[in-house]
Symmetry: C2
Subunit: 241 residues, 2 copies
């Protein structure tokens, strides 16, 4: 049986403008691989309500689980919660359970729960809160969409809160063999090997280093014994000389 599928929606201008590199995608990809959920698509959109709403609807329909990151803070450009509510036709306002969490947190910190911070208690009706052990302001889940913060430490903590609630599949295993020949030399035998192992995904990731061409061949699947057998065949096809 095929593993469950997931998609990620990264919300915010910072990656699209080239200002920053994404860190959350890489973390989520690794965590999902461990528990046998296939990350099938990632989309990155800017802080633009129609784009966010359309992407949430499309991904929620196409995949078993969706994770979003970004846009749930207190500033004017944080519009994710309202977009999720719009995507699912839900009412949204400051919700008492989220407000209580923030009130207790800022009371302990001796900080005012001002109007801006209260925005972080805006949660769509019927959403389930996601625990945020780092900075309290919660994420939330609506249907199959988990809405999380963009700050990496908070994103990672929220992923850790959500993952135990998901049903995974067989963990995806992989082995990699680096072959110091151009892809054009190995493509023929590699294609035959892939055809002999339809249950394994065999990918070729070429590189160029110090003027020489090579490729990392990654063999992925859920059956470790089958992966080992295919890697041994591969190594025999291309002995280092």
């Amino acid at each position: 049986m095929a593993n469950p599928t997931a998609a990620m929606l990264v919300i915010g201008d910072e990656i699209l403008s080239g200002r920053t590199r994404d860190a959350n995608m890489h973390h989520l990809a690794n965590e999902l691989t461990k528990i046998g959920i296939t990350l099938s698509e990632v989309r990155i959109v800017s802080d633009d309500a129609p784009a966010i709403i359309a992407a949430v609807k499309a991904l929620s329909t196409s995949f078993d689980t969706v994770f979003t990151s970004g846009g749930i803070g207190p500033t004017h450009d944080d519009i994710t919660a309202d977009c999720i509510a719009a995507a699912f036709g839900l009412h949204i306002d400051v919700r008492e359970d989220a407000r209580a969490l923030l009130a207790a947190h800022y009371k302990r910190a001796g900080t005012e729960l001002n109007e801006a911070r209260l925005r972080m208690a805006r949660i769509p009706d019927t959403a389930t809160l996601i625990d945020n052990p780092v900075s309290t302001a919660p994420g939330f889940t609506v249907q199959n969409v988990h809405v999380m913060a963009g700050v990496p430490s908070v994103f990672q903590a929220m992923v850790a809160s959500v993952l135990p609630t998901l049903v995974g599949g067989a963990p995806l295993l992989s082995q990699t063999l680096r072959i110091n020949r151009g892809e054009g030399d190995i493509a023929g035998p590699l294609g035959k090997l892939a055809a002999e192992h339809p249950d394994l995904a065999i990918g070729s990731y070429p590189f160029q280093k110090d003027g020489a061409y090579g490729s990392n061949i990654v063999i992925r699947g859920t059956d470790g014994t089958a992966i080992d057998a295919a890697i041994l065949k591969l190594a025999a096809l291309f002995p280092e000389t």
Copy 2:
């Protein structure tokens, strides 16, 4: 007038599985920003023909220009060219102009132009070739879609070949002010500043460092004088104390 828009489609399992981090997205984002083209969306899909075809169609319709990276090499998992042909209803086969480029290149290198390498000459009818000064095997353009390699050095060379053919807009300028206060403290005045400057995009990118919260405020736009004025107002709102 709004700047032209672009989208990027990254094709391949390696990022989705967590094996590698993307490098091409960051490069393209920076290059487009310089020439005033707005990168509006990025999608990452796996080596799966229906997913690639659907994404190409959707992005080609929604944005002025689309850039793809990955999946045009000689191995069995390189299916991008055939998917692009399918998306646009074009015939695809080994094309004489691309074959001639590869034949000359491999003759110079003393390497056989075997069946696998010939796959890199599979180009849809009516496509325009994209020059590849690094390793010869060309990319190609169909309508508003530029199809490029995933190896970063080759991707970057192809981007350099394509960019001069595009009509850009006003270069996107930006200034960043780091404010060492939590977003909840700055959100109110920041929102007012954003409302006073509707032609500028004002984004808040929070961070947490050594237990302290802060935020980088990035002000973007095409009018440098307006950006400078807004940054000065911002600095006056939040003096370092």
